[in-house]
């Protein structure tokens, strides 16, 4: 894995509701990113907890934090404490499954299976420490989405010319691509583009990307808006 911590502010921060940066703040971020990827509030979520998450999630408020993120609450939101009650009120069913004794690549790993009507998405997130979180899997496809970068995720058909069409629009809109990765599970299956960009001002480029034929979804992940400032 590349360097995980990019800035002094990854260390002096985030501003957050206690008690744990990895089990609380990092978990809120995973919830927020999963919700952003699902593009709506799910009706039910199965939450599989591994290693340290599975052993200490209650004491560290990991359950409250993951659900808080799924409800779109920020790291420093005082309502975070009541997230489980809010979920009940908003008809979000949450089911925790403790996968104790199963070894994962990172000690604080969680798999979320989000459902609404006939839509289903599985997202794996890891909390690496100090409030930093990554998404490492969507629908069984390995990838990496970092919480501190602005990322565009595109679900598209596995066809020639897709990258060209996407990069053409981004270049016309003067959006600088920092990194770009394309993922698919097998030849001809649905594919994914993960594009990290420098700009936060995207104007109409998301709508233009959505209009490209054979693109199913265009999702923007930008957690910076959910960070507290004074």
């Amino acid at each position: 894995m590349e360097k995980k911590y990019h800035s002094v502010f990854d260390i002096i921060g985030p501003i957050m509701v206690g008690p744990s940066s990895s089990h609380t703040a990092g978990a809120v971020k995973i919830g927020l990113m999963a919700r952003a990827l699902f593009q709506k509030q799910p009706e039910s979520v199965d939450i599989y907890l591994y290693e340290s998450f599975a052993e200490t999630y209650k004491g560290h408020g990991t359950d409250i934090a993951l659900v808080g993120g799924l409800l779109n609450l920020s790291l420093a939101d005082p309502n975070l404490k009541e997230s489980l009650e809010i979920a009940t009120k908003e008809n979000l069913k949450v089911n925790f499954i403790l996968e104790k004794g199963i070894k994962t690549l990172y000690p604080n790993t969680v798999k979320l299976v989000l459902k609404k009507a006939d839509q289903i998405m599985s997202v794996v997130g890891v909390s690496v420490g100090g409030g930093k979180a990554l998404i490492t899997e969507i629908n069984q496809v390995n990838l990496e989405i970092s919480d501190d970068l602005i990322t565009i995720v595109i679900f598209h058909h596995d066809k020639p010319g897709m990258i060209y069409q996407v990069s053409k629009i981004l270049s016309e809109k003067n959006i600088n691509i920092a990194t770009m990765k394309v993922r698919r599970s097998f030849k001809g299956s649905n594919a994914m583009m993960i594009i990290e960009i420098d700009n936060s001002d995207l104007n109409d480029s998301i709508a233009l990307l959505k209009a490209i034929p054979f693109i199913d979804e265009v999702i923007l992940i930008n957690l910076n808006q959910k960070e507290q400032s004074c």
Binding site: K3, K4, S7, F9, P14, P19, S21, G129, G130
Partner: protein
């Protein structure tokens, strides 16, 4: 390239000053301007000061296991001549205050983590009380602590679940010690010595939280970290050097973290978390939780 403490020392030479080197790094890698950085850091500073103030009153955690030590130490400081001196006792009081607020799910600034969030602010505001620092000096303290922490996080870990308590309390204490020495000397080499000596002293510290809560022993370990950071800063300022260089201490911490049994990595399956009293506490808390449900 800023992967090691050695890189940081070289970058400081190149720019003539440690803070200028940090500003240069942030501008280049994160497109943050000086004004943006100072503004954001001022915000973090305010949250820290706020949490120290709050924790000087009794703030009980949900479990009721902790809260009130911040107030006890405040009263003690007013009434008595302390054994470890007012600077260290104030730093310990501040550190405990922040972590009692954290345990009660209050708002804090993670430095580098929530469980170790008392050490850097605790030391900083104790120094401020005794030496009346300017705002610029306080912000510089946080940038210096932060850059040492960033290198540690990338080379080893700042997560108790990955590296044990040494990764959290160890990293935070070493960051604070480096920042103290920078405040008094503006010498990055001396700061690195303080960093190395502090981290060395905390190698092997395990993460064994009672009932899986960020309370026991976490809160008092923030007092340990704050006092050790000041003590090791004194050694460095006296000219004492670490035989093992800072970068090698960081690597040693990473290796120890890898070898540590999972029982000692924030799973509450070993150490203090399995003591007789801890098991009784766990049972009691489960009983209360079940009754509530």
């Amino acid at each position: 390239m800023l992967n090691t403490i050695n890189d940081l020392i070289n970058l400081t030479k190149e720019h003539g000053d440690l803070l200028e080197a940090i500003f240069h790094y942030e501008l280049k890698h994160n497109q943050l301007t000086k004004t943006e950085m100072l503004e954001k850091m001022t915000c973090q500073l305010e949250i820290m000061e706020d949490s120290i103030k709050k924790g000087q009153k009794t703030v009980l955690s949900n479990s009721k296991l902790t809260g009130g030590a911040g107030k006890q130490l405040s009263d003690y400081l007013k009434e008595t001549t302390t054994l470890s001196g007012d600077l260290i006792t104030t730093a310990m009081r501040n550190a405990i205050a922040v972590n009692e607020v954290n345990a009660a799910m209050g708002i804090i600034c993670a430095t580098p983590t929530a469980g170790s969030a008392g050490i850097v602010p605790g030391v900083l505001f104790a120094l401020d009380e005794h030496f009346q620092m300017t705002l610029d000096q306080k912000l510089r303290f946080l940038f210096v602590a932060g850059i040492f922490g960033m290198i540690t996080a990338n080379q080893a870990s700042i997560s108790g679940a990955e590296g044990g308590c040494q990764a959290e309390i160890g990293s935070a204490s070493a960051m604070a010690s480096a920042a103290i020495v920078d405040y008094f000397s503006q010498d990055v080499n001396l700061a690195a010595e303080a960093f190395a000596m502090t981290l060395k002293n905390l190698l092997g510290l395990v993460c064994d939280p009672v009932a899986g809560l960020v309370e026991v022993p976490c809160i008092k370990r923030n007092a340990l970290g704050a006092s050790l950071a000041i003590a090791m800063a004194d050694l460095a300022l006296a000219g004492v050097k670490s035989v093992i260089p800072a970068d090698e201490v960081i690597i040693a911490m990473a290796e120890i973290g890898k070898d540590l049994d999972i029982k000692y990595k924030e799973t509450a399956l070993g150490g203090l978390a399995r003591s007789k009293t801890a098991l009784e506490i766990e049972k009691q808390l489960n009983y209360q939780a079940n009754r509530k449900e």
